[in-house]
Symmetry: C2
Subunit: 501 residues, 2 copies
């Protein structure tokens, strides 16, 4: 590979096979060593602008050896990384990479095909058809969501894309009936716990911002969207002459992992012909365990469902799995048919052209990494892996509950839950009720900042029902019980330290 001609002309061979092998092995060892990630502070300790001070102002004119670059990665990049792979990382939602997914991403990068339609690389399309059917079956999705039942799945980058695509399809389906000039009448529904992706998608798709409904939830109903509240909101919108379009229900909300009740919600939406999308970005994976599948009860009345295999399903970023019952609704909104992509296979309509299932034309061969995850571990081990995270989370929950200074703010459904310094603890016995809430919120916020500044563990926060809470999400692939035991010590020590000042 790479002839003398090239070597002579460019001084280096950009894809020489032996050099690829040598440098590839170097990087594998570098990343294998990085897995010893516990030695770094979990949350990066750098200050804004740190990197510009350390790197040259311009790109180099001459080549630099990989060894020099790797030294710079170690010295300048690693300190600026917040280590999502650390076993002591409990912030946001997990970004749980495993070896199998890494290898799949390498293969995909190595083949570097652009699988916009079937003919551009048939294996990329067909493997995606197959793994989304496999995974849909593991989740016990209704057959109508699978290719074998005339629905189908697609691997997109993120939930933001999945929601924008389904919302656009729903919008156009309705506008075809009522006329394009009525775009300003369409209403989109979620709860105040729904991910900001919904509001952003509605905005991009040209829905009037005034017609976005974030229906209030409350602690008493565990921050779930109530069907009654949805019904009342829809009724009021219809009275105002508006047109209900789209509901995004969530299985495992971002704030607190609440589960919206699909069955009652879909009973409401059916009356109005509203498109229901189920966003199970984080918690969807748990539903491959039979004992958690009930969270999806009612899905048969939804139109689309997505979860992020890159969150809590071990498939490195990015990989959002989206299933729809009616691919043609998606295709009618998203298909393009430029002449230069026309080909016999597409014209025969015997193949899937994924460009018509997503925003972008070019797309990576994401199915490979998901296929490697499924095959390298098998359904049985994947279930057990998820269960182990829930067990570890429960252990941490038990520790929190054993300390009366804290409270767990809502039932734990999965591997994530929220806790805070308890307003009803003895710490605030001299305050009135308003002060108790305010001071416990403040102390929780201070505590979280101290925890993260320590670099020993990393957690994040939310505000739900006016409570400032610490979110604790288990799911990093390296996390074991000992790590949450350690994390608990960090929490207690930091609270002690706050109280001793």
């Amino acid at each position: 590979m790479g002839s003398l001609h090239f070597e002579h002309e460019f001084g280096n061979k950009p894809l020489d096979s032996e050099e690829f092998r040598r440098q590839g092995h170097l990087i594998i060892d570098f990343i294998a060593d990085y897995k010893n990630v516990e030695k770094y502070p979990v949350r990066s300790q750098v200050e804004p602008g740190y990197l510009r001070k350390r790197l040259p102002e311009s790109a180099p004119y001459n080549p630099e050896p990989i060894e020099t670059i790797l030294q710079d990665v170690e010295q300048h990049i690693v300190p600026g990384i917040t280590h999502w792979q650390s076993p002591n990382y409990f912030a946001y939602f997990p970004s749980s990479g495993i070896t199998a997914a890494f290898l799949g991403e390498m293969l995909s990068t190595g083949f570097n095909v652009v699988g916009f339609n079937w003919v551009s690389s048939p294996a990329a399309t067909e493997l995606e058809n197959i793994v989304t059917d496999w995974l849909g079956e593991m989740l016990n999705l209704p057959k109508s969501f699978l290719f074998s039942g005339n629905g189908g799945g697609v691997l997109q980058g993120t939930t933001c894309e999945a929601i924008l695509c389904t919302l656009t399809a729903a919008r156009d389906q309705t506008l075809r009936k009522i006329g394009r000039e009525n775009i300003g009448m369409l209403v989109v529904y979620g709860s105040d716990q729904t991910h900001s992706a919904l509001q952003k998608a509605a905005h991009i798709a040209g829905i009037n911002p005034k017609n976005f409904r974030a229906i209030k939830t409350s602690k008493s109903s565990a921050f779930c969207l109530s069907a009654e509240a949805l019904q009342a909101t829809i009724k009021s919108d219809i009275e105002d002459g508006l047109i209900p379009l789209f509901l995004c229900a969530t299985i495992g909300t971002t704030g607190i992992a609440a589960v919206d009740p699909l069955q009652p919600l879909c009973e409401v939406t059916r009356r109005y012909g509203i498109w229901v999308h189920i966003d199970a970005a984080y918690a969807g994976s748990a539903c491959i365990c039979p004992e958690f599948r009930h969270f999806l009860d009612g899905i048969e009345n939804a139109d689309s469902f997505s979860f992020n295999a890159h969150k809590w399903f071990f498939t490195n970023l990015d990989c959002c799995c989206l299933w729809v019952k009616n691919p043609s609704a998606l295709n009618q909104s998203l298909s393009t048919n430029p002449e230069y992509l026309r080909n016999k296979a597409s014209d025969s309509r015997k193949v899937v052209d994924y460009k018509d299932w997503q925003i972008t034309l070019s797309r990576r061969f994401r199915a490979l990494k998901l296929w490697l995850v499924l095959r390298s571990h098998g359904v049985g081990n994947l279930r057990n892996f998820l269960r182990s995270h829930m067990k570890i989370a429960k252990h941490f929950e038990d520790l929190v509950r054993s300390d009366k200074r804290f409270e767990v703010v809502a039932p734990r459904n999965f591997s994530m839950f929220c806790f805070k310094v308890s307003p009803s603890s003895a710490l605030f016995k001299h305050e009135n009720d308003d002060e108790k809430d305010e001071k416990s919120n403040e102390m929780t916020k201070t505590l979280l900042e101290k925890i993260n500044t320590s670099g020993k563990v990393c957690m994040s926060h939310a505000i739900v029902g006016e409570m400032y809470v610490i979110r604790f999400a288990v799911g990093a692939s390296l996390t074991e019980e000992k790590h949450v035991v350690g994390a608990w010590k960090v929490v207690q020590q930091n609270l002690d330290s706050i109280l001793s000042h």
Copy 2:
């Protein structure tokens, strides 16, 4: 890494360091061997549905060893791949991967951070700030597009996203002035050669499909968008009470690599306050060579500019570089500020939060691979590498021109050009003019299908100005002069074979 506890409970350790190392080295060798890609037919020879016949119906319950999986990749996946990395691949636009980009992607996958905002991994944001400034400087972009000039760059997945983001920003900027209810009045402009990404983006963003203008181009003006035609179209729209919003001008169109004249076009758009986006998806990279930079003359009057480093700039899929003059226009349309992402650094406004520059929240650490490409080769070699592709393309062009049966249908600007069986060749001396055109188109189509079916090389097609043309794009990283000499033989032999029947 990975305790006995885990091993016992799950039967396998999903991120064990030594197993990672072993399997990682295996895959490196697999991919290094794949670089011997010339042995495969370039365009996959499989039939629709081939893979479902070969793979099990469901995911396995038990784990399978990586060796078995790799065997399946070789036996079942590779035959379904159209080999974009082959030196004999000349279809569509190049997907030019090189070792440095592959290594960068590996590092990014290994760190597996989710860099939605600065604090979630400062290095991911800051390196992206730096490399987009570096690259902007290499392209000699006006300073107003760089962070150092209060503009800035972002790495998105594809041009489709870049256009949707800038179009949404432009839409909202205008709607803030004229009122949201006027969304149906906004008009988007391109030429009949503009990429379908523009029409799709306009559709998603809620622009009335009636208000999308694909202005006609012609052979006589080399399929460039003419400023006069744009002016006339705008004038007519304004007379109809519509509001001109957005122009997408292209440097290197998909069909024929035509270059829209930025200076005269921007003189028109300035009069009407139209947002101008420059789509240089394929050809932008060439402008790092001083002798090609003139194609960007006039860019100072545009609002945004994008090119795909994953096309002809060696940075594996996906990596679209977008620069904007006014990041706050983008941010006003695309920012979300959910409580759980709030943090001191963002509140200080001293940092960039890239979630507000794109459609999606989650994002990969793409800057690493671009940084590795720039450093591993340096500006000098990258320029020479691009020049070599143009030289190789010119060699092929000379071969085509030497055979009177063919014609080159428009001037070659970069490493891609189109040719066809010439209607004025002696082959059609007995036909009238209409027949000449029709028959030469048919013969060109037949020829292309035979070429691709041979598996020896892969090319694609376009229809421009009613001509069916073969697109020939040089840019695969392994392509050398000998490969286009071989490709030319395949073309000639197949035409000979058609003529002998």
